[in-house]
């Protein structure tokens, strides 16, 4: 589903990703963890080309997105993304946030887009908020709407960049619960997170990044119980 080969990314002289290779299979849920500044966000943002890779290749469902010929807009329709700070469109209602891209990009009919949107809002428990503006929602509600907005494009892959880091503690669970349901529904997911409990419970694999290098790639039980590298051991000692 996603294949990454020798991915390098530099900002000016600062090399942030130093040759990352990995693969994420259909239906797999992968947690990406590592210290601050290790390149987790950059890695995730290369997958939908919000950052332009400096070198290396990335295939999404067989399409090489580092190839200029590839229609990246088409690929992005199939890759949803959820941000730490939600980035809902503040001048649109919750419902409009969900229907905007399907209407504009997929040319879905209005009634179909709204039906899908209401179904999704139902699933994240926010159908009653459909006509509200985002500013009226709590952080947890905003993030659930943001997840629903990404799902409204009916993507096969979902990327999450620390979706709960900007939330008050009491709102973390409601968002993680939505993500858990999504994971169990067979969605292919790449999740940058500091929620170790969640990673351990939901992920099929853990990728541990440090200094722009993929240091470990293991199932959560193995990674959390027997981290091989000393860097992962140090990291886990600090966060657990």
């Amino acid at each position: 589903m996603i294949k990454v080969e020798k991915l390098h990314k530099s900002f000016g002289k600062n090399e942030v990703l130093k040759g990352i290779s990995t693969q994420i299979n259909n239906g797999e849920v992968v947690a990406i963890i590592g210290p601050s500044g290790s390149g987790k966000s950059t890695f995730l943002r290369c997958i939908n080309k919000l950052e332009e890779p400096t070198d290396g290749k990335i295939w999404i469902k067989g399409a090489d997105i580092t190839d200029r010929q590839t229609d990246i807009l088409k690929v992005r329709q199939n890759v949803g993304m959820v941000f730490q700070h939600f980035h809902l469109f503040p001048h649109m209602t919750v419902l409009e946030n969900l229907t905007y891209a399907p209407l504009k990009v997929k040319k879905t009919t209005k009634s179909e887009a709204e039906n899908t949107a209401m179904d999704l809002l139902e699933k994240v428990g926010l159908a009653v908020k459909a006509q509200e503006y985002p500013s009226k929602l709590s952080g947890g509600q905003k993030q659930r709407v943001a997840i629903a907005r990404a799902l409204a494009m009916n993507p096969e892959i979902m990327l999450f960049d620390e979706p709960t880091s900007a939330l008050d503690p009491e709102m973390v669970k409601e968002v993680l619960d939505v993500m858990k349901t999504l994971a169990h529904s067979g969605m292919t997911m790449a999740i940058v997170t500091h929620e170790m409990g969640f990673a351990r419970e939901v992920a099929d694999r853990v990728l541990f990044l440090d200094g722009g290098v993929l240091v470990e790639d293991a199932p959560p039980n193995e990674f959390f119980s027997h981290p091989k590298s000393s860097r992962a051991q140090d990291f886990l000692q600090k966060v657990l």
Binding site: N48, V75, F83, H91, K104, V105, A150
Partner: protein, 219 residues
């Protein structure tokens, strides 16, 4: 000082007839300047260096020279450049539109850059192309923030429209001046013109506040 409006008041309708021209210039130049300002601002934030340079050079020239000079070049220069004399009103609309576009583009550029980058990234991540992202996501939010500055620019335009007097356009200002010249009595007609401009600007300010309030009530 003794002011005597009795001999000037009969000329009030004559002066007021200039409102049509003044409003025509202000509205058309305002709309054209706004549209051109959007295009220029998009050039300024573009990744294409040549567009940046062109838009910045444009702004620099129109801000760095007197407006009255720009008007005169367009009006008096037209026979040499175009081969025919354009009308004063046309020259005025073009001149004010080009000039205000320079200022408006700066306002819009700042407004766009003040919008969280995450808005554009969220749209990109959904597969939305550049143009609808700008038109539906970024510009509506930017407009809300820059409305007061835009309104200011519009008010400035209204007042400076009096400059068209110098290229023979029969606006409020020129008519007031003519009445003065006919009656050897300038103070009263000029004061009348002043009152007309003041009322115009007050109405504009009020409309601006109204629109602003509407937009704010959305969030």
């Amino acid at each position: 000082m003794n002011l005597d409006f009795t001999s000037v008041l009969p000329s009030l309708p004559f002066i007021l007839q200039g409102l049509g021209v003044t409003l025509q210039i202000v509205c058309l130049a305002g709309i054209l300047g706004f549209l051109l300002g959007i295009i220029l601002s998009l050039c300024k934030i573009s990744k294409i260096k040549l567009l940046n340079w062109l838009a910045n050079a444009y702004t620099s020239v129109f801000r760095g020279t007197p407006l009255i000079l720009q008007l005169m070049i367009i009006y008096f220069g037209s026979p040499q450049v175009l081969g025919f004399q354009i009308e004063g009103v046309t020259a005025a609309i073009i001149g004010f539109a080009l000039n205000s576009a320079a200022y408006i583009s700066e306002i819009i550029r700042a407004g766009i850059q003040a919008i969280d980058k995450g808005q554009q990234e969220a749209a990109m991540a959904l597969g939305v192309p550049y143009r609808p992202t700008m038109v539906n996501i970024i510009l509506p939010q930017a407009m809300k923030n820059i409305l007061p500055a835009l309104m200011n620019e519009f008010i400035t335009l209204t007042k400076e429209s009096a400059l068209v007097t110098t290229i023979g356009v029969m606006d409020v200002m020129r008519r007031a001046y003519q009445v003065g010249a006919n009656q050897y009595q300038f103070m009263e007609p000029l004061l009348l013109a002043g009152i007309i401009y003041y009322i115009l600007v007050t109405i504009l300010t009020f409309l601006g506040k109204l629109v602003e309030g509407r937009l704010r009530s959305n969030d």
